[in-house]
């Protein structure tokens, strides 16, 4: 398939809106992406043509809904090359996926003397659950530091990976720096000391091939809404033998096998971890988003998004007074920066006036902001539907704002 951004843009109704009479330039894709018409249509179709609960009733629409729901599970498994569909658990998002492990595994397997190893680069969603787990179990939280270039400093692995390390939790692609961390290497180091691994893949799965067989991680979490799918849906991948051995997370319908007044036995995985009526429409929508991404293919997506990122990096660097945070060799389409004497919120406000949506703030990574010594940064993040012309508009508007604010 030939990668044609103009034809791709036609598939996304939201991209054709105007803001303050100017065409929308949406550059906040690391926060959430827009949805192609096919995803919107899949959700609409479920609600208007075969709306029913899944895994229960015997009537026709219930069967159709169940089939569509479970078909999405197969699509997810294929997307991340998971050998066993039972590894795929649907959650509300990356945050819930990580919390599921923190509660159903962490609180039953960790205690005083054990160490949870995370990195200084984590999104709060992969930090707070472990702070709470450490607080509740008496385990200790340790951190792999970051370098000035916004990469992980893995130069002293023996300091962090020890016999006490029981879990290593890390972000695969930074939502601030764009850095792609050496996931395979980290997972190998963790396994060498007998620790389990959980990968926060919220920023990586949307942008490049993430392969469970190759990575060999124990758990992996990502969200639907950052990869052209609906909000409210996420995925937890887990190795089947680990998921089987784990205690349940939420108790309720669907996750049980038999129930008496006194006690219950659990359903098989993955349903053991899908208590209550699941997010049926969202799961079906996510399956359609995966179809969309797969039809284009990661090879073309990686190539195009790299072109955009390189273009933006070089244009931004040419502006006076710009500091770009993160300079890793392996990076995704995310650029964080600060402008001298212009606060990120003032910049974002002026860009909004021009129809440009960027993010300004701490990006749910306050420890990184402390490390960088800034209260906040501005962040532009790209998706497969962005164009160089949009980046030109961004750069011109930043230059105008700098002139106005400091001139």
């Amino acid at each position: 398939m030939i990668f044609d951004v103009n034809s791709i843009r036609q598939d996304f109704p939201n991209l054709h809106q105007t803001v303050n009479g100017k065409p929308l330039v949406y550059l906040d894709n690391a926060a959430s992406t827009h949805k192609p018409q096919s995803v919107i249509e899949a959700v609409r179709k479920f609600y208007s043509e075969y709306n029913a609960n899944v895994h229960r009733a015997l009537y026709r629409y219930a069967t159709e809904a169940t089939e569509a729901y479970e078909a999405s599970r197969d699509k997810v498994a294929r997307l991340i090359n998971a050998p066993d569909r039972r590894s795929i658990i649907f959650t509300s998002g990356t945050t819930e996926s990580i919390n599921l492990i923190a509660y159903a595994w962490g609180r039953h397997n960790l205690g005083p003397g054990d160490e949870i190893l995370v990195t200084e680069m984590e999104h709060h969603s992969n930090l707070i659950p472990w702070q709470l787990t450490a607080r509740d179990t008496g385990a200790t939280l340790k951190f792999i530091p970051i370098t000035a270039d916004g990469a992980l400093d893995l130069s002293n692995p023996d300091q962090y990976f020890t016999a006490r390390t029981k879990l290593v939790a890390f972000i695969q692609q930074s939502n601030v720096f764009g850095t792609i961390n050496p996931a395979k290497q980290i997972i190998e180091m963790a396994h060498q000391v007998g620790a389990l691994t959980i990968v926060d893949a919220a920023q990586s799965v949307p942008h490049h091939q993430v392969d469970m067989t190759e990575l060999d991680c124990d758990f992996l979490a990502f969200s639907g809404h950052k990869m052209l799918g609906p909000t409210g849906i996420g995925v937890l991948y887990g190795k089947p033998e680990l998921l089987e051995a784990m205690e349940p997370f939420l108790g309720g319908g669907e996750m049980i096998q038999s129930v008496t007044m006194e006690k219950s036995t659990w359903n098989e995985i993955p349903w053991k971890f899908e208590a209550g009526t699941p997010k049926i429409a969202q799961v079906i929508g996510l399956g359609t988003a995966i179809d969309y991404i797969t039809a284009i293919g990661f090879e073309a997506i990686v190539k195009y998004e790299k072109e955009l990122t390189d273009y933006a990096l070089s244009a931004l660097s040419a502006l006076e007074g710009i500091t770009i945070h993160g300079n890793a060799h392996q990076r995704g389409p995310v650029i964080s920066f600060n402008v001298k004497d212009v606060h990120p919120h003032d910049l974002a406000q002026f860009l909004d006036q021009e129809g440009i949506a960027i993010r300004a703030g701490h990006h749910c990574t306050q420890p990184i902001m402390q490390k960088l010594g800034v209260p906040a940064t501005s962040r532009a993040s790209f998706s497969l539907y962005n164009t160089k012309a949009e980046i030109d508009i961004l750069i011109e508007s930043i230059a105008n704002t700098i002139r106005f604010m400091t001139g």
Partner: protein, 149 residues
């Protein structure tokens, strides 16, 4: 010039680039920290309060142009006011910043901030110093920390 530029023009020229009372106050007998975790705005207010009168007030910190300008203007207004007067001005200011409606005789130079009501996300930036000051003035705690979240 569009509205946003107009709003910033009046703010920045007067206060954001060269904020008034931007210093540590040696005579302070009351300090208050204000945080807006969403933006990363952080201000420290220094106040000298005697017999319910704000004798002197200054600030330090970092933030966007709106929060800086709003803090700067606030310090010039509150100097010499009683706590009750400060509360009364704050109530009118809060109404203005949320609705855009105000009485020029009452608001005086605070009126330059009225345009912010059109940018609801930024209302917090403008109100942060006021919340911080009023919270501190009403509190027994002489080193109060206030957060918008």
């Amino acid at each position: 010039m569009d509205e946003l530029r107009e709003l910033y023009q009046s703010l920045i020229l007067d206060h954001s680039r060269h904020p008034h009372n931007f210093k540590v106050l040696d005579s302070a007998n009351r300090t208050a920290d204000g945080y807006n975790p969403l933006c990363g705005d952080q201000i420290t207010l220094y106040m000298n309060v005697e017999n319910d009168v704000i004798k002197d007030i200054s600030f330090q910190g970092q933030g966007c142009a709106i929060s800086k300008a709003s803090t700067s203007i606030m310090t010039t207004i509150l100097k010499g006011k009683t706590i009750a007067e400060a509360q009364s001005i704050f109530n009118k200011f809060q109404h203005m910043i949320k609705t855009g409606e105000y009485d020029i005789d009452q608001m005086g130079k605070l009126a330059v901030l009225a345009g912010i009501h059109k940018y609801p996300v930024r209302v917090k930036c403008a109100i942060l110093p006021w919340h911080t000051a009023i919270n501190s003035l009403k509190s027994e705690d002489k080193a109060k920390i206030f957060s918008t979240e």
